[in-house]
Symmetry: C2
Subunit: 402 residues, 2 copies
């Protein structure tokens, strides 16, 4: 069996943890499996490097930033190889040049285009554990790129896909995917499995267990993922295509306080207004989430939407700069909002989920600001102060009563 | 003009120094020159990485050690590019993969085989300052290698050679090559120029200004080197082929306390004895320096030689292990010795230099243990405690009286 195992930065933050990871990999190796390990940079390395860069040039070019940051994973993988060798197991570390992880050109946020397998297969054939730098690629200029935060998950999935791995294990500091964040919802419980689509909705909704792009890629190449803890031997959660006939109505509940609402008031009520507004934001790389449009006074309309809190300031600036062109009479915003979402593949064939969610919220006296739905997700915008209460109420309403 | 400039780790040890180096390079760039910069790892980075590696695996494989260490220069070059960009000058950092610095396979002590120029030339053509990681190469397995300590000098010379640079400047923390270490010899003075051969003898004798291999390569490809300070604007010392008719009798005096004497007593006085002894040491990578053989008692001989202090313990172990085979009756050693050398291309045509050196030492009551000479060098082994006194005496005897 060929197993790809990915460990995040906190799992390799110091000598003891490096040896802990080494031992877990060696277990599989000694059971006769081929083992490919993907690592992130140790602990706070990436943050420290970014800080160093910003102290020298607050507007450091992303090309150079990527050149700097990719050293972090190279340190992890070489130390890991040394640890395994200290335990008398043959191991070799490889960076993106050595594997040849071809990526798009976009520094800081590249995507894999093609991944060569020759070198890894050669090392596996000589019975070595192969340790690969996560998070990085090489673009057509022979420059180093990074995949953006959490990109090591994507590296692991990409390698699992091209190597036709039997398993791709993503190790984190939690025991798997939960029905809700256990720190917030006391009745949250671990899921045995979850579909790619459900995981995608949860990841993009702030569940933070898996990098979104890695789930997309896993779905595309049908790579079965296992999310499990690097600290315990617990089984973890399997992410795969739905196989059961019976689907859970609601798989998980996610909250996200990193969100802000913006409303543009009194824009012209004519075709194309919304397009121009959101196109202006998109060009500036502002991702807009929930959108709600309502009729305003005298031939105008009001549009409300949410953005990530981090983007709020920039979004407001852009709207202000283009106020006239976009026919905006007034801009209002609210930072103290939160998104609450329920996700479940079973929703598709079960009407009434939304109603039940609203009932739970009503019973807890939580006011709903905005509503947005997809086939397998319902999201509401509520006051930030209500988020914990609301998550517990909705979680218990669905998951505990099933 | 195309200028290659190399800066060591202490020259880029912190933000201020990085900007200092950036400004010096930009001066040349703004004067219209093409500038290639070679950097070592910042400050103590390499030592810290080695320490980290040893804490995980005291016998870390050199392949993995090189993978680890080469991250140090990649950090320097990317930060330097950011600094230059902050000063509004286009710059790009390149590692050994991007330049393609082909090296031999020997991890930890590789040599360059071939260096591609395409990428660097392309970047220079678009008027960028090109910043290259020193000290590292890529071998035929696509693995990262290092050139050994001081290897960044060699990188600079190699790039100057293949790019046909007009100048190769090696920046250090001293103002150039001195007639002796100014910290020891108060009358030491800076040389305007020195030949490759003299520099080679001085470098290998512990003058520590330039990496030996870089001088060999400079000589081979006739690259004119300038050794100068990164802290002052002083002119520095030019290293080149001899051009003057009149050569200095003695160019420099060097002392080296990192040396130890070993004597093997009573070995068989028959052909091949010396060969077997030194071959055994060479196979274990022990470099032997001065060798002296004398007749011993009753058909035996005694052989004395020096090794680097760091190698003493291992050399003694090897000799002890092979005592019988090597027909050694007794092994003695002395750690408290030092080498004192005078170097000068003028010696070749001037007899009497040795005599004058011995006279200076005799006048200072310094006892000579062993003597070794080459065409342009005389080396004596003396007691370690006498080294400062002896260096001053010999230096003043030759250089002050010329």
């Amino acid at each position: 069996m060929l197993i790809v195992k990915k460990f995040g930065g906190s799992s390799v933050a110091n000598k003891e943890r490096i040896f802990n990871v080494a031992r877990r990999c060696i277990e599989d190796y000694k059971a006769g499996h081929d083992v490919v390990v993907v690592l992130s940079a140790m602990g706070d390395t990436t943050d420290n490097l970014i800080e160093m860069a910003h102290s020298i040039n607050p507007k450091a070019k992303k090309r150079e930033l990527d050149m700097l940051l990719t050293t972090g994973e190279q340190v992890s993988v070489s130390l890991m190889a040394m640890a395994m060798q200290a335990l008398d197991v043959p191991a070799v570390s490889l960076n993106a040049f050595q594997v040849m992880m071809h990526s798009t050109s976009k520094y800081g946020n590249a995507r894999f285009k093609r991944v060569d397998t020759e070198r890894i297969e050669h090392e596996l054939d000589s019975r070595k554990i192969v340790i690969v730098t996560g998070f990085q690629g090489i673009n057509k200029y022979d420059d180093v790129t990074t995949l953006g935060r959490g990109g090591s998950d994507t590296t692991a999935v990409a390698l699992a896909a091209v190597l036709h791995a039997d398993k791709c294990e993503i190790y984190t500091d939690v025991e798997g995917v939960f029905t809700a964040d256990p720190r917030v919802v006391k009745n949250a419980r671990k899921l045995e499995d979850i579909t790619y689509d459900e995981m995608l909705e949860l990841a993009s909704l702030g569940a933070k267990v898996l990098h979104n792009r890695s789930v997309e890629m896993a779905k595309k190449y049908n790579v079965e993922l296992v999310v499990r803890s690097s600290l315990t031997e617990a089984e973890g959660t399997v992410v795969k295509e739905a196989t059961k006939m019976e689907k859970l109505l609601v798989t998980g509940v996610a909250g996200d306080v990193n969100t802000a609402r913006i409303s543009v008031i009194g824009v012209d009520d004519k075709p194309g207004t919304a397009f121009v507004i959101f196109n202006t934001l998109a060009k500036n790389n502002i991702n807009v989430d929930i959108i709600l449009q309502s009729v305003g006074r005298e031939g105008t309309k009001d549009i409300s939407f949410t953005v990530a809190s981090d983007d709020l300031e920039q979004a407001l600036e852009i709207l202000e700069d283009n106020k006239e062109r976009l026919t905006i009479q007034e801009i209002t915003y609210n930072k103290n909002v939160a998104k609450l979402s329920v996700v479940g593949a079973g929703m598709m064939s079960n009407p009434g989920v939304a109603a039940k969610m609203f009932e739970s919220l009503y019973n807890s006296r939580v006011n709903i600001n905005m509503i947005s739905t997809s086939e397998i997700r319902i999201t509401v915008l509520i006051d930030e102060k209500d988020i914990d209460k609301a998550m517990n109420a909705v979680h218990d309403g669905f998951i505990m009563t099933e």
